[in-house]
Amino acid sequence: MKRSTKRRARQGGLYVVLAAVVVFLALSLDWTKIHDNFWAPGLGGNWHDFIFTGLKNTVVFTAIAFAGGLVLALVLALMKLSPVAPYRWIATIYIEIFRGLPALVTILLMAFAVPIAFGWHVPGGAIGAGLVGLILVAGAYMAETLRAGLQAVPKGQAEAARSLGMGPARTLIHIVIPQAIRIVIPPLTNEFVLLVKDTSLLSFAGAAIGQRELTNVARDFMTSGDTAGTGTSLTQVAILYLIISLPLTRLVAWLEKRQQRAR
């Protein structure tokens, strides 16, 4: 047998195996049971109202966590690049701690222990405090991204600005940060997608009805109504998450490709 014929025969074999597995699964699975658990009818008339509120809250929580995290991250990144050593130590310790902890642990600690222990009143109650927890985590991750971006701007840029008499703050604001932003847009978009998904952790933070985001709403409908005990509400929410995150991940891929071409 010629070599190409052999290869074609082997590939043909792989297709046969694949087809056999698909046919086997299709015949052996209990399709009614699957349908009833993932796509059962009877979510109820108020489902759409709740899911709309949930979607709105997911978007709002993501936006708050991203904006807050970004400000925190910029402070941490500048601290990490500070000539004053203790600032660098503090930033490093902070980043290591909040990247080392599971995000859910941080959120739960913020939601249930910290406000009581320190007597803080966080707007929004437990969910507001949990959101602060998410900001703390997001800040730690984005700080490393921003630090790398700031360091990627060539040293000569700051030197040129300083030689023109611009001070350290003006140099940073007018020269270094605008160039760093271009570098960090793709990785920050990635962080944004991660945050969209991480807002689901806030469903453990004890939210009032109007404060619940997508996952929390889905969990309500898993325990009440006609679809209780099935994953139907989760399936619908899962589709919504994909509708949000898939275009964003495609956007990241496009941005990265464009940046590589620009170099």
Partner: protein, 249 residues
Amino acid sequence: MTDVNPPTAAIHVSKLHKYFDKLEVLKGIDFQVDAGQVVCVIGPSGSGKSTLLRCVNRLEEPTSGQILVEGIDITDPETDLEQVRTRIGMVFQQFNLFPHMTVLQNLCIAQRTVKRRSKAEAIEIARATLAKVGLAEKEAAYPAHLSGGQQQRVAIARALSMDPDMMLFDEPTSALDPELVGDVLEIMKQLAAEGMTMMVVTHEMGFAREVGDKLVFMDGGVIVEEGDPREVLANPRHERTRAFLSKVL
């Protein structure tokens, strides 16, 4: 030699030492540039010539010694460094134009933020200096769309738009394709002819001979020899100068 530090000295460097960690790159430099003078500094790579230039506007921190710029001690922590730097224009080997700004914005940013000039005034001065370097029609272009020679001429215009009293050039033509060197040198000659005080680290011996008032040869962190450029280039007194010139000429 009674008057070693006349009030006219644009740059006066004495007993300058500079260490990078344990490596001593400047080993006690005494050096002067008078107002209106063009001083060229030559020497092999690693001789400390760029470090000396960068110490003059304190992009490098001197380890010890004194640097006076128009009589102001820039090594004194009390000195307003930003104020002094506005009087010293600097041109880099790699141009260092701001890539996120147009040519006009490159020329205006420091005028606006440091000199506090009005937008109209900054633009007027920027256009005048751009015309001077022959790039008036490029004001809306971004640096990436200019040739190396054009970028360096914009960088010179950017420094000039701050009305500096003196200009520092750090190997301004070393990163350029050979056919683009001439345009940049032409601008520098024109500046020298107008009486600009200039300190030029360069490998362009022709420029040094033709335009320079003084030539300084550095090697191993010290000034080996200095004097009239024609004299030093034709009859170098030191063996090290001779060895270097025989390689580059």
